[in-house]
């Protein structure tokens, strides 16, 4: 079995979580990791 494709997202405020959710919806097999330097995600919207 081939390994799952990996999407990495830098930033967890507005664009990052939107991108992660959409990517997962388009391709549920995608491995998605999101890195955020602060303590919170989705903190601006």
């Amino acid at each position: 079995m081939s390994r799952r494709a990996k999407l990495v997202i830098l930033g967890g405020s507005a664009a990052g979580p939107s991108a992660a959710a959409r990517a997962k919806r388009v391709n549920p097999d995608l491995e998605v990791a999101m890195f955020e330097q602060g303590r919170f995600i989705s903190y601006g919207s």
Partner: protein, 384 residues
Amino acid sequence: MQDIDVKTEHRVTKIDPKGKRIEVVNLANSQTQWFSYDRLIIATGARSRRLNIPGSNAKNIFTLKDLQDGLRIKNYIDEKRPGQVAILGGGFIGLEMCEAFRLRNLETFLFCRRDLPAGNLEKEISEKILKALQENGVHFITYQEPAAFRLDSNGEVTSLETNQTHFPADMILMAVGVIPNVEIANEAGAELGKTGAIRTDMAQRTNLADIYTAGDCCEVFNLVSQDWVHTPLGDIANKQGRTAGENAAGGNATFSGVVGSAAFKVFELEVAFTGLGMQMARQYGFDADSQVIEAESKVGYMPGSKQMLIKLIFDRQSGRLLGAQMAGKEGVARRINALAVALHQKMTVDEISRLDFAYAPPFSAPFDPILIAAEQASRKVQRS
């Protein structure tokens, strides 16, 4: 979120586009690790700009960009009970915080380099904002370039010095704009646009293979000026993020751009705008003219009807709407959306003046303020 590996307090320090990996520092234990990727989305946002003047790193100088910044300000007010706050910068953040500080009963001073707040908006709108500030006890102080902060022995600001005088302050909010976080992207070879933000296209790609970008760190296409601009706003970030996510997952989405719409509230005053202001419209080569009207938000006999000011900016030759700005205490923020649609559709002021808007006395007069403004503007359009 489902099956998404979220790592907070992890700072990405390097992108290796050839090796398709990123270097990440875990801020909890300072350990550095490399993570590999097949596709990467750079959504590193923007950071608050800080004035680089003596004393500007004092503990009671705040910026406001995210939840942590907001909590820091709130906790400081709760603990230290400051009496006076000085806000530097008359943009949206500074203006919205005037209201927040007044609600906490702080004596509020707004320092602005221009003679009116919201200097990027039209003068007529800025004058309404100034009036709202004054009605609510905010001290607006103009043409005071801050020179330094005077600190006490605890390293806290006690006053703000300008080139003319000095003002006592128990805390400072610096609201002087944002800088896109482009450094790690740029070091990896991602091109920047003329705005200094990451260059992208309508698929949210960068110039680097398998690397996308979205949000406050990158540019966005302005459909009115047909130019790439830096407009760091949360709604745009979400739309770009959605596009980048779809494409990075193998889809084929596009985000065609914005017309430049936004709204904010200063005490009771709603301010909303879309498209270009006069100065920008002229810079982009339009033969720009404008029309200002004031009208009631509802039929005048209805309770709660309030005056609103509308300024339309349009091309004198084609009649095409180029921008609109509004201010008033009722019915403003939602109304602007009709004009945002008009900008997307490149409508003329004459076409706008004949739109079939919903009418009932609690919502507008038979001639909606937008229709009145557009009708008056259409009389200024050259007929060939």
